[in-house]
Symmetry: none
Subunit: 209 residues, 4 copies
Amino acid sequence: MSKVKRDAKVTKAKILQEARTLFSIKGFDATTTDDIAKSSGVNKALIYYYFKNKAGLYAQVMSGLFDTIYDEVVCARGSCNSTTDELHAFVKTYAEYAYKHSYFPALLLRELSDSGAHLPELMFASMRKVFILLSEILQKGEREGVFIKSIPILVHFMIIGTINLMVTTAPLRKKAMEIDDSVDSCAECSTDKITTDIFQTIQKSLEVK
Amino acid sequence: MSKVKRDAKVTKAKILQEARTLFSIKGFDATTTDDIAKSSGVNKALIYYYFKNKAGLYAQVMSGLFDTIYDEVVCARGSCNSTTDELHAFVKTYAEYAYKHSYFPALLLRELSDSGAHLPELMFASMRKVFILLSEILQKGEREGVFIKSIPILVHFMIIGTINLMVTTAPLRKKAMEIDDSVDSCAECSTDKITTDIFQTIQKSLEVK
Amino acid sequence: MSKVKRDAKVTKAKILQEARTLFSIKGFDATTTDDIAKSSGVNKALIYYYFKNKAGLYAQVMSGLFDTIYDEVVCARGSCNSTTDELHAFVKTYAEYAYKHSYFPALLLRELSDSGAHLPELMFASMRKVFILLSEILQKGEREGVFIKSIPILVHFMIIGTINLMVTTAPLRKKAMEIDDSVDSCAECSTDKITTDIFQTIQKSLEVK
Amino acid sequence: MSKVKRDAKVTKAKILQEARTLFSIKGFDATTTDDIAKSSGVNKALIYYYFKNKAGLYAQVMSGLFDTIYDEVVCARGSCNSTTDELHAFVKTYAEYAYKHSYFPALLLRELSDSGAHLPELMFASMRKVFILLSEILQKGEREGVFIKSIPILVHFMIIGTINLMVTTAPLRKKAMEIDDSVDSCAECSTDKITTDIFQTIQKSLEVK
DNA sequence: CATGAATGAGAGTTCATTCAT
DNA sequence: AATGAATGAACTCTCATTCAT
């Protein structure tokens, strides 16, 4: 029994958390294992002991993220009483998650911009699960006659593409506004306003006339 | 007719072209100046002679891209005879450009995922010009009573976000389809189909009832 | 008894020693970190691990030297029983140190010829301490009425300037003598003779008539 | 006949002058041919055309210096009417030259700190000529019975060592004074005062009692 | 006489990774 | 479980020098 209680799980979690933050801020390449070790307050070699190497740590960081978001969407969907509501819940949950964990959009966009070159299997599967969820909602709506037939992946990308860009460009848009406010770049829009607008756009396009 | 090339313009252009390709495939960090020099068939030091440093080369590469796309949109807009047409031209031009120069979406997403941390002024200005273009179209439509009031940046991100993701994920979606084709991920959709769908979605959401 | 060396202190000392030698022979710029690493039998990166960068190593090398000389002078001064003796001890100690560690005058002259452009704070402080020591001796002599009032820095530079030049030009003077011995350039003078001569010169100039 | 009169001599002189300044400020290694070319307003390649290489330029710069100082001392000596006066003229001329052309002491000290490793023959000869001059004065004084027997090289180094250090450390001493003025480092002494003090010191030590 | 284009050889520095304890 | 010491392979950037005109 050691003096200081050193729980492997706690240490590992701390490393994962710091890595997630750093990877999202600086990207995979620009984040060094030294950075992560320092932030986590552990020795660099320990990272290799736990995660084999930098790529292994990255993979673990990434796959954790999508599982969380998947769970949240599933959960939110539970308390809906119409398919339209479910669509709304999807948009709302995703947007709120993205705004709350602003490292997430950065990581996702960067990952997708690689054409999945390094995309670990695990992460791909997790990402896909979220997409399947939306597909199910759209199909259900179609069957019920409340949505017209659509191309699910386009709807999906329209939702998450817009939200992700809004989150990652937030500081940029704020800066732009200070320089030139003649064009509204929604620099101070609330998450709610954005969520609503995106949902309405999607809904209108799916509407059965 | 000399064997030795000593034409600054030609050499510079060659470097820029190879750099563009490499940056888009591997990103800024993972692309080395050695790579670029080798691909361009020039001595590494020449890159520094012309572009001061790696970041300088990157900045020139990026701003060149947006200027090109801006010009193409402006050009396409010229032969339109309604504001709705102009919107269509915007979507179509952007989509076609993105599909044709598939390195572009990767570069853009990667850049935006950095929250503009390294975003050179030059590039920011070029990007903004494209956005302003769309804003003008939307405002004109409003004034004419053919579009409802909208949030330009959301419309913009909806268009380019969707297109960029479709382009960068193309190989990924193809791979996914081979594994599991139960959910349509539009792996073989034509540029035209995608353009049309996106345009219609946007149009419906802007429609005055 | 392990074969592999993992003793930080020993390794660090070895690097410092080799660096000192190389810097004194070739100067800061012409000495490469590769040279130092090779001489020390360590990996180049280890230099950065211990000293942050080349300049940091240099600073450590230099301030170490002055601290040593300071200590030696203080020590020698301890066993003196007159202020004149103390002055003699100063000259003698400095001269003996300079002749024994002949890399030192080279490093010092080179450093001072830079007008302190790169002079690290640490080193400046160490250098100054030696000067203050001499100042104290001179002041004490004044108070006691054995020395006339003098300008300490001039006395200091007269002593160390002469000694340093004698040491660094030793090979040059030997070479010169072989070519033309009509003018005595003291090519084979002993340290003792030089020390005595310098001391007497200074003493005479300080003498109260 | 070209439009703009481009006199080779003028261009060469300009390069030499700028090189002298730069070498004295930054030393041989840290001065780049780019620096010199830019300062001189000429193309880099021209330096190679005129001086073969960087070392050649350096050699030309250096040997020019000592010839000048030699001439000035010889000249000053001409209007003296005692050997003591001649000694005074030597100190005075050297000090004034050093203070006026403050790049000179830096170059000299740096050069001497190399133990003449790179010292070009030409420069060595020029330096030696100045020393011989002093030797002659000292010998003459001895013969006349006004000076005691001395070691010429020590007298020489005492004079030029002190002066050179005073000039090169001027900025350093000024800085030191601002921080701590408890010890006088002669930060604001005039050239005249320094010259006088050095001369008197030397004179006293040579005095026949 | 003068220049812009181009190069080769390295220099300092960084970093993922491993070793020994 | 955890650490400081050590390494090898790269990477960015610099610079003296040369080429072609």
